[in-house]
Amino acid sequence: MPSRAKPEHPNAGEHDAAIDQLLREGLEPDPARSRALVEAALASATERRQRPASAAIGDRRRWSAPRTVATAAAVTFAVLAALVWPRHASRQPTPAAGTPTVVAAAGGHTPQAGHESEKSIVSISNLDGPLTVTTRGGGRWIVLNGEGDTP
């Protein structure tokens, strides 16, 4: 089966060099322009070096990885805190002034207004009258609103 590859140019190396040479000649810049570019680059670098420190601050402030990371972390924290804190705060019982806060009692006791128990509530009954709150185990009463008895 005959090869499908195109035949190599008899003088491939010379041919390549000729193409490169043609390309270079076609794009050859004016030597004066090249020299002007070099001088401009040297002058710009010198000028930049001699600028006062206050002018260089702008350059340094352009971008900094640690500062970017710190800013991103601070923003993330602030956003998360703003989202989570209200939910957390709403879970806390907030006693309203002048009203009984939490009524809970040690097992079988009749709760009084303004009394609070540290024990977990097992059941609440007698919702129309004075509440009877049954808690797990014994409880310690805390008077919050200055009313009722402390056991």
Partner: protein
């Protein structure tokens, strides 16, 4: 190794490369100057880079890409505000028959990758390792691109010379 002789040697090579890629002298000179400036700054702050040629061509390539993208985005706005670049396009230049125009027009017909590889090696006079480093590809891939580009360019230029004889 001194800074100024290095710059003198790199400047024309860099200009040829930038001009071949963009086809516009002003854009090419801007990118070349920025790349040379980056080299000067680097040299003075931290000493010469391992390979000044690869360094300066890498910077120029990045700047050119950025400038070309910006130009593409702004072109419609410039057309609206009548601030468009009125320089003749490469095809129009091709018809004038100058060496520069013919070269540019032939280069435009190569694919972007092939054109860049050929320009780095032929116009920028970088060796295979340096050009591969600038493009971020392997040496064999670079050789393939350059070979393909030379073949195509050769055919294009031959066609160009053959057509007037036929006419």
């Amino acid at each position: 190794m001194d800074l100024e002789p290095t710059l003198d040697a790199l400047a024309p090579r860099l200009l040829r490369y930038c001009l071949g890629l963009t086809g516009r002298a002003a854009v090419a000179e801007d990118a070349a100057q920025e790349a040379l400036l980056a080299l000067v700054s680097r040299w003075r702050l931290h000493g010469p880079p391992d390979d000044a040629g690869a360094f300066v061509f890498t910077v120029a390539r990045r700047r050119l890409r950025r400038n070309l993208w910006r130009d593409r985005l702004l072109q419609p706005i410039e057309t609206l505000t009548e601030r468009a670049d009125h320089a003749p396009d490469p095809e129009a230049l091709f018809l004038t028959g100058s060496t520069f125009a013919t070269t540019l027009a032939a280069l435009r017909k190569l694919s972007g990758r092939d054109r860049e590889a050929l320009l780095l090696v032929a116009a920028g006079e970088l060796d295979g390792a340096q050009a591969a480093q600038v493009l971020g590809i392997g040496r064999s891939a670079l050789k393939m691109r350059v070979h393909r580009a030379r073949q195509r360019l050769s055919r294009l230029l031959e066609d160009r010379h053959a057509k007037p004889r036929e006419a």
